[in-house]
Symmetry: C2
Subunit: 340 residues, 2 copies
């Protein structure tokens, strides 16, 4: 392994000069600096991250927290898409992404401990259960952090315009003639509340009375629960003609319940999803859904996190959050309702 010392010896200068030359710091002659940099390159020098971290207290490591209830965060298409975009942006700035966890070598540690142990410069959080004690602890630790879909006091976050998303869905269904619009939401949380708000307010705006039996609480990405709740909706004496799903993936359960009830989508029942997962475009019928702009979300998250990191130590930033607009993707699952 080539170290500063090796380069120093070869160039006949001190280690300090080499360090300065390589980092483009003042205090080294132009000629010397050039020569140093050249030999460094020719020797294939690479700084030692550990040594740098130890000395500078900066690791350029970002922790990624993608936990799900069933610990399958990485399988969550939506979050992974956001992560991809986040990753690209962060890498441009020289950061590495490390997956966080609660077990470092047999014994269990907390997220915060893992964070401190690895000396992470910041944390990216996208998950389901934001009320987790460990997350709160992490949020309180003063480590730069950005969250998706949920805001912790003192930290910035990025989220889709959920109110508008559901509103767009309801309006679209209404435009095509639906008035009996059911809504199966995810578990109760910030995002869900916003969506419910959009649901209620848009119904009101359109002059459609809110019917409590048309609203069900499922869980995000839970296919079987969503399937069951969809079946329940279909059993109502006067079932909805259009159903909004918690998300595309859970929506698969909804579609399956409808099939099993002997009904067809969209001829008998219309369905609208949420997320805009890639693979949904390839299955039949193509799901009409509210698309979350994962690329923009990821980039915004990166930006906010970088800003926080740069600002560390100075007065706290006003923790600005960013709301990302959503769009409706017109698929094949919404048509005029049958007369009934």
């Amino acid at each position: 392994m080539v170290t500063l010392k090796d380069i120093a010896k070869k160039c006949g200068v001190s280690v300090a000069s080499v360090s300065k030359a390589i980092n483009h710091m003042p205090g080294v002659g132009t000629q010397t600096a050039k020569k140093i940099r050249e030999t460094a390159k020719s020797m294939g020098y690479l700084p030692n991250a550990a040594a740098q971290a130890l000395k500078t207290n900066r690791t350029f490591i970002i922790g990624v927290l993608l936990e799900d209830d069933d610990s399958h965060g990485l399988l969550h298409q939506f979050f992974v898409s956001v992560l991809e975009s986040f990753k690209i942006k962060m890498e441009e700035q020289g950061y590495d992404l490390m997956l966080m966890n609660r077990t470092v070598g047999k014994r269990t540690i907390s997220y915060l401990e893992h964070c401190r142990y690895s000396n992470m410069d910041g944390v990216f959080v996208a998950c389901i259960d934001f009320s987790d004690k460990e997350l709160l602890e992490l949020a309180d630790a003063g480590i730069p952090m950005v969250t998706i879909d949920h805001t912790y006091p003192g930290h910035p976050s990025v989220y889709s315009d959920n109110v508008d998303g559901i509103s767009k869905a309801v309006r679209y269904a209404h435009k095509l003639g639906h008035t009996r619009i059911g809504f199966i939401s995810g578990a109760l949380a910030g995002v869900t509340n916003k969506r419910f708000e959009g649901y209620q307010s848009t119904l009101k705006e359109l002059g459609i009375p809110y019917r409590d039996e048309y609203y069900k609480v499922s869980r995000y990405r839970d296919v079987s629960l969503t399937k069951k709740l969809t079946a329940d909706l279909l059993k109502l004496p006067q079932p909805p003609t259009c159903i909004l799903m918690p998300d595309d993936y859970a929506g698969l359960g909804g579609l399956s319940a409808i099939r099993e009830a002997g009904l067809r989508v969209p001829e008998d029942i219309s369905v609208i999803g949420f997320d805009g997962l890639e693979f949904m475009a390839h299955i039949s019928p193509r799901l009409t859904t509210i698309n979350q702009d994962t690329q923009q979300i990821g980039e915004a998250a990166a930006e906010l996190l970088l800003k926080q990191i740069d600002n560390k130590g100075k007065e706290a930033l006003p923790a600005k959050s960013i709301k990302v607009p959503v769009t409706l993707i017109e698929g094949e699952t919404v048509v005029l309702p049958k007369k009934g």
Copy 2:
């Protein structure tokens, strides 16, 4: 931040003793050691990873290479599932996973450089293009490495029993009465060759003549190319009655081509996928497919990598690889062929 020094001061002992006590090394009295460990815990001591890495030359960081042609490795369900399982196993042993990349801070570096810079203890590689120059460079660097689906000389790997997988598919189709069995494979590579081998040999065994026009080369996960090739197969004067797809995801393209040709699955054409992706179980018709045991693959990969890491410096291991059995998941996409 609590350091060994702080603990030493509080306990009235030397830093050396503290270090030894905490690491359960001999050379410290039982009493002293106990006291040291207790105060360490009470002070909330956590070792500094950078310092440890610098001193010991071990980082407990594993690089994860999940690149795809279109750089969407994380979106690849199959690989991500394997990664999940790998991750759990590695974390148990105290390792952290870091996503690898080619850009660290503006300038582009190679995988190998990234690896060296961060001082990774090992690398997990799962991707498509194994002939990438940079990968070869990485494989030659003598860093512990494990690959999925491809074997580099000198390194262990884990892969599904691809020969048997396709063989199972062909046999299953044959058992249900198919003799015109088409095969759309992924791009030519190790895995594909194995599968083709299984295809040919099983046909032969069953006494079905191999027909070149029934074999097409697509690319893994490529929906639109697979769609086109499926359409081509259907246009044959005597099209196959059952088609094996490169993988479940690409298979969506196949299904879509069949629909667009005005045919139905499975009534008109039977289809068999490969992978056993989770979400496939939720769409209709449920895809009959060859399931890869992602959990076992991930665990095996972890095991092999750990063994290599432990063995570092000693004589090279015989680079044992592991073949993981596959199973056929009976879905709804294969039935008796129509007479024709």
